[in-house]
Protein backbone atom coordinates (compact mmCIF):
# COMPACT_ATOMS: atom_id res chain seq x y z
CA UNK A 1 0.00 0.00 0.00
CA UNK A 2 1.36 3.41 -0.97
CA UNK A 3 1.03 6.74 0.85
CA UNK A 4 -1.49 7.87 -1.81
CA UNK A 5 -3.65 4.77 -1.20
CA UNK A 6 -3.57 5.38 2.54
CA UNK A 7 -4.37 9.11 2.18
CA UNK A 8 -7.46 8.22 0.17
CA UNK A 9 -8.74 6.11 3.06
CA UNK A 10 -7.71 8.24 6.02
CA UNK A 11 -10.97 10.21 6.40
CA UNK A 12 -13.12 7.09 6.01
CA UNK A 13 -11.08 5.25 8.65
CA UNK A 14 -11.04 8.23 11.01
CA UNK A 15 -14.83 8.53 10.70
CA UNK A 16 -15.30 4.80 11.29
CA UNK A 17 -16.93 4.34 7.88
CA UNK A 18 -14.19 1.89 6.84
CA UNK A 19 -12.37 -0.56 9.10
CA UNK A 20 -8.59 -0.25 8.70
CA UNK A 21 -7.23 -3.16 6.68
CA UNK A 22 -4.04 -4.95 7.85
CA UNK A 23 -2.17 -3.37 4.93
CA UNK A 24 -3.41 0.09 5.98
CA UNK A 25 -2.32 -0.48 9.58
CA UNK A 26 1.05 -1.82 8.51
CA UNK A 27 1.68 1.25 6.36
CA UNK A 28 0.60 3.70 9.03
CA UNK A 29 2.80 1.88 11.55
CA UNK A 30 5.80 2.34 9.30
CA UNK A 31 5.14 5.80 7.78
CA UNK A 32 5.27 8.72 10.19
CA UNK A 33 3.74 11.18 7.68
CA UNK A 34 0.66 8.98 7.16
CA UNK A 35 0.43 8.32 10.90
CA UNK A 36 0.43 12.10 11.52
CA UNK A 37 -2.19 12.58 8.81
CA UNK A 38 -4.41 9.92 10.40
CA UNK A 39 -4.03 11.52 13.82
CA UNK A 40 -4.86 14.93 12.30
CA UNK A 41 -7.94 13.45 10.63
CA UNK A 42 -9.09 12.01 13.97
CA UNK A 43 -8.67 15.39 15.65
CA UNK A 44 -10.69 17.06 12.89
CA UNK A 45 -13.35 14.36 13.30
CA UNK A 46 -13.54 14.97 17.06
CA UNK A 47 -13.61 18.73 16.65
CA UNK A 48 -16.46 18.48 14.13
CA UNK A 49 -18.38 16.11 16.39
CA UNK A 50 -17.97 18.58 19.26
CA UNK A 51 -19.26 21.52 17.22
CA UNK A 52 -22.24 22.92 19.08
CA UNK A 53 -25.00 24.64 17.16
CA UNK A 54 -26.61 27.63 18.85
CA UNK A 55 -30.29 27.05 19.67
CA UNK A 56 -32.94 29.28 18.16
CA UNK A 57 -33.65 32.41 20.23
CA UNK A 58 -36.63 32.12 22.62
CA UNK A 59 -38.89 34.45 20.62
CA UNK A 60 -38.09 32.75 17.31
CA UNK A 61 -41.37 30.81 16.90
CA UNK A 62 -43.43 33.89 17.75
CA UNK A 63 -41.49 35.91 15.17
CA UNK A 64 -42.02 33.25 12.50
CA UNK A 65 -45.79 33.19 13.10
CA UNK A 66 -45.89 37.01 13.04
CA UNK A 67 -43.98 36.99 9.74
CA UNK A 68 -46.47 34.50 8.30
CA UNK A 69 -49.41 36.68 9.37
CA UNK A 70 -47.67 39.69 7.84
CA UNK A 71 -47.02 37.86 4.57
CA UNK A 72 -50.66 36.69 4.43
CA UNK A 73 -51.92 40.24 5.10
CA UNK A 74 -49.67 41.60 2.33
CA UNK A 75 -50.94 38.92 -0.05
CA UNK A 76 -54.58 39.71 0.79
CA UNK A 77 -53.86 43.40 0.27
CA UNK A 78 -52.37 42.73 -3.15
CA UNK A 79 -55.39 40.61 -4.13
CA UNK A 80 -57.77 43.33 -2.92
CA UNK A 81 -55.90 46.00 -4.87
CA UNK A 82 -55.90 43.87 -8.04
CA UNK A 83 -59.63 43.19 -7.58
CA UNK A 84 -60.45 46.87 -7.14
CA UNK A 85 -58.38 47.78 -10.18
CA UNK A 86 -60.20 45.13 -12.23
CA UNK A 87 -63.58 46.52 -11.09
CA UNK A 88 -62.46 50.05 -11.93
CA UNK A 89 -61.31 48.96 -15.39
CA UNK A 90 -64.63 47.13 -15.91
CA UNK A 91 -66.69 50.17 -14.94
CA UNK A 92 -64.58 52.37 -17.23
CA UNK A 93 -65.13 50.00 -20.16
CA UNK A 94 -68.88 49.90 -19.50
CA UNK A 95 -69.01 53.71 -19.29
CA UNK A 96 -67.13 54.10 -22.56
CA UNK A 97 -69.39 51.54 -24.20
CA UNK A 98 -72.51 53.31 -22.88
CA UNK A 99 -71.35 56.68 -24.16
CA UNK A 100 -70.57 55.11 -27.54
CA UNK A 101 -74.01 53.53 -27.70
CA UNK A 102 -75.73 56.79 -26.82
CA UNK A 103 -73.69 58.59 -29.47
CA UNK A 104 -74.61 55.87 -31.91
CA UNK A 105 -78.24 56.50 -31.06
CA UNK A 106 -77.98 60.20 -32.01
CA UNK A 107 -76.17 59.23 -35.21
CA UNK A 108 -78.88 56.70 -35.97
CA UNK A 109 -81.54 59.39 -35.32
CA UNK A 110 -79.90 61.60 -37.93
CA UNK A 111 -79.83 58.66 -40.37
CA UNK A 112 -83.47 57.82 -39.68
CA UNK A 113 -84.45 61.46 -40.19
CA UNK A 114 -82.71 61.33 -43.56
CA UNK A 115 -84.52 58.13 -44.53
CA UNK A 116 -87.87 59.64 -43.45
CA UNK A 117 -87.18 62.76 -45.47
CA UNK A 118 -86.49 60.61 -48.54
CA UNK A 119 -89.63 58.56 -47.95
CA UNK A 120 -91.73 61.76 -47.58
CA UNK A 121 -90.35 63.02 -50.86
CA UNK A 122 -91.57 59.83 -52.53
CA UNK A 123 -94.84 59.84 -50.55
CA UNK A 124 -94.10 56.39 -49.22
CA UNK A 125 -94.06 55.25 -45.58
CA UNK A 126 -90.60 55.07 -43.98
CA UNK A 127 -89.26 51.50 -43.66
CA UNK A 128 -88.08 52.24 -40.06
CA UNK A 129 -89.56 54.35 -37.36
CA UNK A 130 -87.65 56.59 -35.02
CA UNK A 131 -87.00 54.42 -32.02
CA UNK A 132 -84.21 55.08 -29.50
CA UNK A 133 -85.34 52.32 -27.15
CA UNK A 134 -82.89 49.73 -28.57
CA UNK A 135 -79.64 51.50 -27.62
CA UNK A 136 -81.10 52.50 -24.26
CA UNK A 137 -82.11 48.91 -23.58
CA UNK A 138 -78.64 47.72 -24.57
CA UNK A 139 -76.99 50.27 -22.28
CA UNK A 140 -79.25 49.27 -19.41
CA UNK A 141 -78.42 45.62 -19.99
CA UNK A 142 -74.70 46.35 -19.98
CA UNK A 143 -74.95 48.27 -16.73
CA UNK A 144 -77.04 45.48 -15.19
CA UNK A 145 -74.49 42.88 -16.29
CA UNK A 146 -71.59 44.93 -14.91
CA UNK A 147 -73.30 45.36 -11.55
CA UNK A 148 -74.24 41.69 -11.53
CA UNK A 149 -70.61 40.69 -12.04
CA UNK A 150 -69.46 43.13 -9.35
CA UNK A 151 -72.04 41.80 -6.86
CA UNK A 152 -71.06 38.19 -7.61
CA UNK A 153 -67.34 38.95 -7.24
CA UNK A 154 -67.94 40.83 -3.98
CA UNK A 155 -69.82 37.85 -2.56
CA UNK A 156 -67.01 35.50 -3.59
CA UNK A 157 -64.34 37.67 -1.94
CA UNK A 158 -66.08 37.54 1.44
CA UNK A 159 -64.34 35.30 4.02
CA UNK A 160 -65.63 31.72 4.11
CA UNK A 161 -66.66 31.93 7.74
CA UNK A 162 -68.89 34.93 7.01
CA UNK A 163 -70.54 33.19 4.08
CA UNK A 164 -71.14 30.08 6.12
CA UNK A 165 -73.11 32.03 8.69
Amino acid sequence: MTCADVRDLIEAVAAGDEPPSPAFEAHVGACSACAAALEAARRVERALAAFAAPPAPPQFSRNVLAAIRRARWQYDNRVDRAFNLAILAGVAIVAVAAVSLLNLSSVSRVLLAGIEALADARNQPAPWTRDSSVPIALTTMMFATAFGIWWWAERRSEPREERAQ
Binding site: A40, V44, A47, A53, P55, A56, V64, I68
Partner: protein, 180 residues
Protein backbone atom coordinates in the same frame (compact mmCIF):
# COMPACT_ATOMS: atom_id res chain seq x y z
CA UNK B 1 -43.04 12.42 17.27
CA UNK B 2 -43.75 9.30 15.24
CA UNK B 3 -44.73 9.20 11.60
CA UNK B 4 -48.51 9.16 12.16
CA UNK B 5 -48.30 12.14 14.53
CA UNK B 6 -46.23 13.99 11.96
CA UNK B 7 -48.76 13.12 9.26
CA UNK B 8 -51.61 14.42 11.43
CA UNK B 9 -49.69 17.61 12.13
CA UNK B 10 -49.03 18.04 8.41
CA UNK B 11 -52.72 17.64 7.62
CA UNK B 12 -53.60 20.32 10.17
CA UNK B 13 -50.93 22.64 8.76
CA UNK B 14 -52.01 22.11 5.15
CA UNK B 15 -55.37 23.75 5.72
CA UNK B 16 -53.50 27.01 6.22
CA UNK B 17 -55.89 28.20 8.93
CA UNK B 18 -54.48 26.29 11.91
CA UNK B 19 -51.78 28.59 13.18
CA UNK B 20 -51.24 26.54 16.32
CA UNK B 21 -50.40 23.49 14.19
CA UNK B 22 -47.77 25.40 12.26
CA UNK B 23 -46.47 26.76 15.56
CA UNK B 24 -45.94 23.15 16.69
CA UNK B 25 -44.06 22.40 13.50
CA UNK B 26 -41.82 25.44 14.01
CA UNK B 27 -41.14 24.42 17.61
CA UNK B 28 -40.17 20.95 16.47
CA UNK B 29 -37.71 22.02 13.79
CA UNK B 30 -36.53 25.48 14.89
CA UNK B 31 -33.27 24.39 16.53
CA UNK B 32 -32.34 22.18 13.63
CA UNK B 33 -33.04 24.90 11.06
CA UNK B 34 -31.45 27.65 13.11
CA UNK B 35 -28.30 25.63 13.81
CA UNK B 36 -27.83 24.66 10.19
CA UNK B 37 -28.46 28.17 8.91
CA UNK B 38 -25.99 29.47 11.48
CA UNK B 39 -23.28 27.19 10.09
CA UNK B 40 -24.16 27.67 6.43
CA UNK B 41 -24.78 31.39 6.10
CA UNK B 42 -22.01 33.78 5.21
CA UNK B 43 -23.38 36.69 7.18
CA UNK B 44 -24.11 35.81 10.81
CA UNK B 45 -26.28 38.91 11.23
CA UNK B 46 -28.69 37.37 8.71
CA UNK B 47 -29.19 34.07 10.53
CA UNK B 48 -32.52 35.04 12.15
CA UNK B 49 -33.95 36.33 8.86
CA UNK B 50 -32.74 33.33 6.86
CA UNK B 51 -34.09 30.81 9.37
CA UNK B 52 -37.40 32.69 9.32
CA UNK B 53 -37.32 32.64 5.52
CA UNK B 54 -36.94 28.84 5.62
CA UNK B 55 -40.15 28.53 7.64
CA UNK B 56 -42.00 30.99 5.37
CA UNK B 57 -41.06 28.77 2.44
CA UNK B 58 -42.15 25.67 4.37
CA UNK B 59 -45.50 27.36 5.09
CA UNK B 60 -46.01 28.35 1.45
CA UNK B 61 -44.91 24.95 0.17
CA UNK B 62 -46.89 22.73 2.57
CA UNK B 63 -50.02 22.51 0.38
CA UNK B 64 -47.81 21.12 -2.41
CA UNK B 65 -45.73 18.79 -0.22
CA UNK B 66 -46.77 15.32 -1.32
CA UNK B 67 -45.14 13.47 1.55
CA UNK B 68 -43.01 11.24 -0.68
CA UNK B 69 -39.95 12.23 1.34
CA UNK B 70 -39.81 12.76 5.08
CA UNK B 71 -40.73 16.25 6.23
CA UNK B 72 -37.27 16.73 7.75
CA UNK B 73 -35.63 15.81 4.43
CA UNK B 74 -37.74 18.38 2.63
CA UNK B 75 -36.81 20.99 5.24
CA UNK B 76 -33.07 20.21 4.83
CA UNK B 77 -33.46 20.84 1.12
CA UNK B 78 -35.12 24.19 1.75
CA UNK B 79 -32.35 25.15 4.20
CA UNK B 80 -29.75 24.23 1.60
CA UNK B 81 -31.49 26.27 -1.12
CA UNK B 82 -32.05 29.33 1.06
CA UNK B 83 -28.44 29.33 2.25
CA UNK B 84 -27.06 28.71 -1.26
CA UNK B 85 -29.06 31.69 -2.52
CA UNK B 86 -27.75 33.83 0.32
CA UNK B 87 -24.18 32.76 -0.41
CA UNK B 88 -24.55 33.57 -4.10
CA UNK B 89 -25.97 37.02 -3.23
CA UNK B 90 -23.35 38.03 -0.69
CA UNK B 91 -19.64 38.43 -1.10
CA UNK B 92 -17.54 35.98 0.86
CA UNK B 93 -16.49 37.21 4.26
CA UNK B 94 -12.73 37.27 4.49
CA UNK B 95 -11.78 34.59 6.97
CA UNK B 96 -8.16 33.80 6.22
CA UNK B 97 -6.88 30.49 7.51
CA UNK B 98 -3.63 32.22 8.24
CA UNK B 99 -4.70 35.26 10.27
CA UNK B 100 -1.45 36.99 9.37
CA UNK B 101 -0.42 37.55 12.95
CA UNK B 102 2.63 35.38 12.71
CA UNK B 103 0.98 32.28 14.12
CA UNK B 104 2.24 29.18 12.31
CA UNK B 105 -0.13 26.75 10.59
CA UNK B 106 -1.44 24.27 13.13
CA UNK B 107 -0.93 20.58 13.16
CA UNK B 108 -4.22 19.13 14.40
CA UNK B 109 -2.40 16.01 15.51
CA UNK B 110 0.03 17.74 17.82
CA UNK B 111 -1.91 20.32 19.76
CA UNK B 112 -2.13 20.71 23.47
CA UNK B 113 -5.53 19.26 24.34
CA UNK B 114 -7.28 22.17 26.09
CA UNK B 115 -5.97 25.13 24.12
CA UNK B 116 -5.53 23.06 20.99
CA UNK B 117 -9.19 22.10 20.73
CA UNK B 118 -10.25 25.72 21.04
CA UNK B 119 -7.67 26.83 18.48
CA UNK B 120 -8.58 23.97 16.18
CA UNK B 121 -12.31 24.75 16.32
CA UNK B 122 -11.63 28.41 15.58
CA UNK B 123 -9.59 27.61 12.51
CA UNK B 124 -11.88 24.79 11.52
CA UNK B 125 -14.73 27.25 11.38
CA UNK B 126 -12.71 29.49 9.08
CA UNK B 127 -11.80 26.54 6.91
CA UNK B 128 -15.45 25.46 6.73
CA UNK B 129 -16.43 28.90 5.46
CA UNK B 130 -14.31 28.25 2.39
CA UNK B 131 -15.73 24.86 1.50
CA UNK B 132 -17.96 24.52 -1.58
CA UNK B 133 -21.67 24.84 -0.73
CA UNK B 134 -22.59 21.16 -0.99
CA UNK B 135 -19.59 20.04 1.12
CA UNK B 136 -20.37 22.70 3.70
CA UNK B 137 -24.00 21.61 3.86
CA UNK B 138 -23.04 17.96 4.32
CA UNK B 139 -20.55 18.72 7.08
CA UNK B 140 -22.93 21.10 8.87
CA UNK B 141 -25.92 18.78 8.68
CA UNK B 142 -24.09 15.56 9.52
CA UNK B 143 -21.96 16.82 12.38
CA UNK B 144 -24.18 19.53 13.72
CA UNK B 145 -27.47 17.75 13.93
CA UNK B 146 -26.56 14.14 13.34
CA UNK B 147 -28.43 13.98 10.05
CA UNK B 148 -27.66 10.51 8.74
CA UNK B 149 -26.27 9.63 5.33
CA UNK B 150 -29.64 8.40 4.04
CA UNK B 151 -31.47 11.64 4.85
CA UNK B 152 -28.65 13.68 3.34
CA UNK B 153 -28.76 11.56 0.18
CA UNK B 154 -32.52 12.16 -0.12
CA UNK B 155 -32.20 15.89 0.58
CA UNK B 156 -29.55 16.40 -2.09
CA UNK B 157 -30.92 13.71 -4.39
CA UNK B 158 -27.63 11.84 -4.66
CA UNK B 159 -26.64 8.24 -3.78
CA UNK B 160 -25.50 7.43 -0.23
CA UNK B 161 -22.06 6.44 -1.56
CA UNK B 162 -21.68 9.91 -3.05
CA UNK B 163 -22.66 11.50 0.27
CA UNK B 164 -19.90 9.54 2.03
CA UNK B 165 -17.35 10.36 -0.66
CA UNK B 166 -18.21 14.05 -0.55
CA UNK B 167 -18.00 14.11 3.24
CA UNK B 168 -14.60 12.43 3.17
CA UNK B 169 -13.38 14.89 0.53
CA UNK B 170 -14.73 17.80 2.57
CA UNK B 171 -12.88 16.60 5.68
CA UNK B 172 -9.73 16.01 3.69
CA UNK B 173 -9.95 19.58 2.42
CA UNK B 174 -10.41 20.79 5.98
CA UNK B 175 -7.44 18.79 7.22
CA UNK B 176 -5.22 19.93 4.36
CA UNK B 177 -6.18 23.56 4.85
CA UNK B 178 -5.46 23.33 8.54
CA UNK B 179 -2.09 21.70 8.11
CA UNK B 180 -0.84 23.45 4.98
Amino acid sequence: MDESDEQALLERCRGGQDEAAFGELVERYKDLVYGMVHRLSRDRSQVDDLAQDVFLKVHRGLPYFRGEAKLSTWIYRIVFNVCSQERSRTRPVELPLDPGDGRPPIDPGRLDAAFGDFELRDRLERAMAELPDNYRFLVAAHYLKGVDYKALAEALDIPIGTVKTHLHRAKRLLRERLTS
